[in-house]
């Protein structure tokens, strides 16, 4: 009985290893053929590329088998972690290898290497390096004290930005500073940041506010525009600037009210 279960387990392990090895080999070999085709070294009708395309379809099916064989809680740490330092070396290797290969492929594809392409190669390397290094990161994000910022500082900053924008709109309309810096900041960040301050948890790190600020800025302004259009109010630059100001003010007032409400039980407790 025990022998049978051991045999079954060893068979399952060997099948899993076989599928894993086959899948990773297939993915790597097919990626090689794709690199060659995308870099223009072989044509898209070349046997190697067509084979790779077909093998990837097979790989898609194989990946389902692989997934069914590896169904386990994903919070389990990955094996083969020897030391974080060792893995940092792998991350550095991934950055250098990935960045160089990407740059070389673009150079081959374009017939020359422009500064733009080089920058993309460098960024690809950096993105891969940071990404791979994070795979071996054992501590969770909660262990790192996040960057916090005072609410008062945020609202003062937003108000100053709004005032500068209005001034620039008056004295230097369509100037580079206004068009490239202040107008996008006012449209994409200011109202959203003013609203995330009351709507996110008080202890949310500043990066969370920054992540949600753009979408909230855009959607809140679009809602106001929809109401203005529906009510027959003309959409003018003044109306748009006013609506941004009103949204910022609403955010600040809401923050103040919620802060006041949160403080009240503490006062009662202290009495």
């Amino acid at each position: 009985m025990r022998f049978a279960s051991v045999l079954k387990m060893s068979q399952s392990v060997s099948i899993k290893s076989f599928i894993t090895l086959t899948l990773i080999t297939l993915i790597t070999v097919c990626a090689g053929a794709i690199f060659l085709a995308e870099a223009g070294m072989i044509s898209y009708t070349h046997l190697a590329y067509i084979t790779a395309e077909n093998l990837l379809v097979v790989g898609a099916v194989l990946s389902i088998v692989f997934v069914s064989l590896t169904n386990r809680p994903q919070n389990q740490p990955a094996s083969a972690v020897k030391t974080p330092q060792q893995f940092q070396l792998v991350a550095a290797g991934a950055a250098i290898f990935g960045g160089s290969l990407f740059t070389m492929l673009i150079a081959q594809q374009q017939g020359q290497l422009s500064p733009y392409d080089t920058l993309m190669g460098v960024l690809m390397g950096a993105a891969l390096g940071l990404g791979v290094s994070r795979l071996a990161w054992i501590r969770s994000d909660e262990d790192i004290p996040p960057v916090m910022i005072q609410t008062r500082v945020v609202y003062i900053g937003l108000t100053v930005a709004l005032i500068i924008t209005c001034l620039l709109r008056w004295v230097a309309p369509a100037s580079g500073l206004l068009t490239l810096v202040f107008a996008p900041f006012i449209v994409f960040i200011v109202p959203g940041l003013a609203l995330t301050m009351p709507l996110l948890e008080p202890d949310a790190p500043f990066s969370h506010h920054l992540a949600l600020a753009p979408i909230l800025s855009i959607t809140a302004q679009l809602i106001i525009l929809a109401w203005l259009l529906w009510l027959g109010v003309a959409i003018t630059p003044t109306a748009i600037l006013l609506s941004i100001g009103v949204l910022t003010l609403i955010g600040a007032l809401l923050r103040m009210v919620l802060f006041h409400v949160a403080q009240q039980p503490r006062h009662q407790e202290s009495r």
């Binding site: 990773i24 993915i27 097919c30 690199f35 870099a39 395309e53 790989g59 898609a60 389902i64 692989f66 997934v67 590896t70 169904n71 386990r72 994903q74 919070n75 990955a78 792998v90 290898f97 990935g98 673009i106 594809q109 374009q110 733009y116 960024l123 690809m124 950096a126 993105a127 990404g131 791979v132 795979l135 969770s140 790192i144 924008t165 206004l178 068009t179 996008p184 449209v187 994409f188 709507l199 790190p205 969370h208 992540a211 949600l212 753009p214 979408i215 855009i218 959607t219 809140a220 302004q221 809602i223 929809a226 109401w227 027959g232 003309a234 959409i235 003018t236 630059p237 748009i240 600037l241």
Partner: protein, 512 residues
């Protein structure tokens, strides 16, 4: 002893400080910049941003800023008889920046790049929300940054669609946050985000509505009371805040007769998804990541049921509309490909985490990122050259027409130029469009006449008479009609046409 121990705390402090600064989405800053540059190829490496579509979208914005209200008809385009078949949110975003900066709206095309950052940061937040771990979030963000489908959409300038899809990850994050913690703050956040996003692009709004409706239906079955307690506040808040948006949507559905289009319109038959289109937009590696990733995501034990249902519903809707012809659903099927980014990104993260061995995980991340990245770069360069519509030569041709035609002269153009010329030249125009490219059915006859003229079909002369055509503009570098060779032959030998202008991009024929 002291000498051997001093560097370790220093190194540790350095890493701690770096980690603190990079905490949250700071880890993916290079990926964000890469996304910006990849999509930016279509904008920064050409004299004018590539793609036809933004010509009409920004013309709409210009009309809004000039009149202060939503225009009913497009100026010049299809003889000024075309209604605007769109939700106005996408173009209005450009209008916001134009109004604040006082710059001409056509100088602000580059602001669409900001949405590549919003998309990647949103994906990071969504993956963090779902997997509760930063390695998964970083993998998902990396994949989103380099997916060829966004680059492809940028090349033909489908900006409102791109903007709406870019906001989807944040929408889903906020939805799942509310589902986990249904409190007032999260409800307010969700209401603002949902209502605003629903105002941007009609097809994307359809996706959102179908995905959230399917999610709600599936979640209702096991725990109806608990689900309703969460859903009802959303419905009430969205109805109150987004009333005008809802009414705009209903009006658009009625005007465009959407129900009939989705069930009977045959004009989308040519847009069925083929392997060739899949390989260009999603890539063969994308197929593996979608299939394996979806399996890994949906069977993952560490992903909540709500997350699985939401992403599963979204993917199900996408597949349904992508292969809709199987069940008799009429739709611009290839458009559904552009909605696959979230399942691919999250699926890749789940798939990579299935590898037990850390080295293999690292190898997978490198191989997937490089393969998709190089495909995206190729796509950006080749498709941008194909979709380079506005060039200095086109501007020169528009100037020539301005000087040598009268304000009432009717001008016929090919498909791509037909989207751009209306804002370059104040003359009534006819754009030759194949039926699958048309959203508003009232312009089908005009567009068909345009096709007859541009392709030299048997009723070409009748169409010229019917529409009182005075000039025909033909692009020479890349074709923007189905059979350009035939078109050139007919134009050359036609007795009523006389070549009056030519440069390296354009030929202009005058009708005698």
């Amino acid at each position: 002893m002291l000498a051997t121990h001093t560097p370790a705390p220093l190194l540790q402090t350095f890493w701690q400080n770096t980690a603190r600064i990079l905490s949250g989405w700071g880890w993916v800053l290079p990926a964000l910049m890469l996304a910006l540059l990849l999509r930016g190829i279509t904008i920064y490496l050409f004299t004018y941003p590539t793609g036809p579509d933004y010509g009409l979208h920004l013309l709409f914005t210009r009309q809004v800023l000039e009149t202060g209200s939503l225009p009913e008809f497009s100026a010049n385009y299809q003889l000024g008889e075309a209604t605007w078949p769109l939700l106005p949110g996408g173009p209005l975003i450009f209008g916001l920046v134009a109004a604040v900066s006082a710059s001409p709206v056509f100088d602000l095309v580059h602001i669409v790049m900001i949405f590549s950052l919003i998309e990647c940061i949103g994906t990071f937040a969504l993956a963090q929300q779902i997997f509760k771990r930063s390695d998964a979030a970083i993998i998902a963000t990396l994949i989103t940054a380099i997916l060829p489908l966004f680059v492809d959409m940028m090349t033909w300038a489908g900006y409102p669609n791109l903007i709406a899809v870019s906001l989807f990850p944040a929408c889903f994050t906020v939805w799942l946050r509310y589902w986990e913690h249904p409190n007032g703050r999260n409800l307010a956040l969700l209401t603002l985000v949902l209502c605003g996003t629903a105002y941007i692009h009609h097809i994307s709004t359809l996706w959102l509505a179908l995905a959230f409706s399917s999610f709600s239906l599936v979640m209702l079955f096991p725990k109806p009371a608990e689900t309703l307690r969460r859903l009802l506040p959303i419905a009430i808040a969205c109805l109150l805040v987004g009333l005008p948006i809802l009414l705009s949507g209903v009006q658009l559905i009625q005007e465009q007769n959407a129900g009939t289009v989705l069930t009977t319109a045959t004009r989308f038959d040519d847009t069925r998804v083929t392997w060739e289109i899949w390989a260009r937009v999603i890539t063969p590696m994308g197929l593996l990541l979608l299939v394996g990733g979806t399996a890994a995501f949906l069977t993952s034990q560490s992903v909540s049921r709500a997350s699985k249902v939401l992403i599963g519903a979204y993917l199900g809707i996408t597949l349904l509309l992508m292969f809709g012809w199987v069940i008799g659903l009429r739709f611009y099927y290839t458009r559904a490909l552009y909605f696959l980014s979230i399942p691919i990104a999250l699926g890749t993260a789940a798939f990579v985490l299935r590898w037990q061995n850390l080295w293999l995980r690292a190898l997978c991340v490198v191989v997937f990122t490089l393969t998709l990245g190089i495909s995206a770069t190729t796509q950006a360069h080749t498709a941008s050259r194909y979709f380079e519509i506005v060039t200095p030569d086109i501007i020169e041709a528009a100037e020539w027409l301005k000087n040598f035609s009268t304000p009432s002269d009717v001008i016929v153009t090919g498909t791509f130029l037909g989207f751009q010329l209306p804002h370059l030249l104040d003359r009534p125009q006819i754009a030759a469009l194949t039926p699958d490219l048309i959203s508003n059915a009232e312009i089908l006859p005009i567009a068909a006449d345009g096709i007859s003229i541009m392709m030299g079909l048997s009723d070409m002369d009748a169409a010229i008479e019917r529409r009182s055509v005075d000039f025909i503009v033909v692009r020479t570098r890349t074709p923007d009609i189905p059979d350009p060779a035939r078109s050139r032959q007919v134009m050359t030998v036609h007795p009523r046409l006389r070549l009056v202008f030519r440069n390296s991009d354009v030929l202009i024929y005058e009708v005698r």
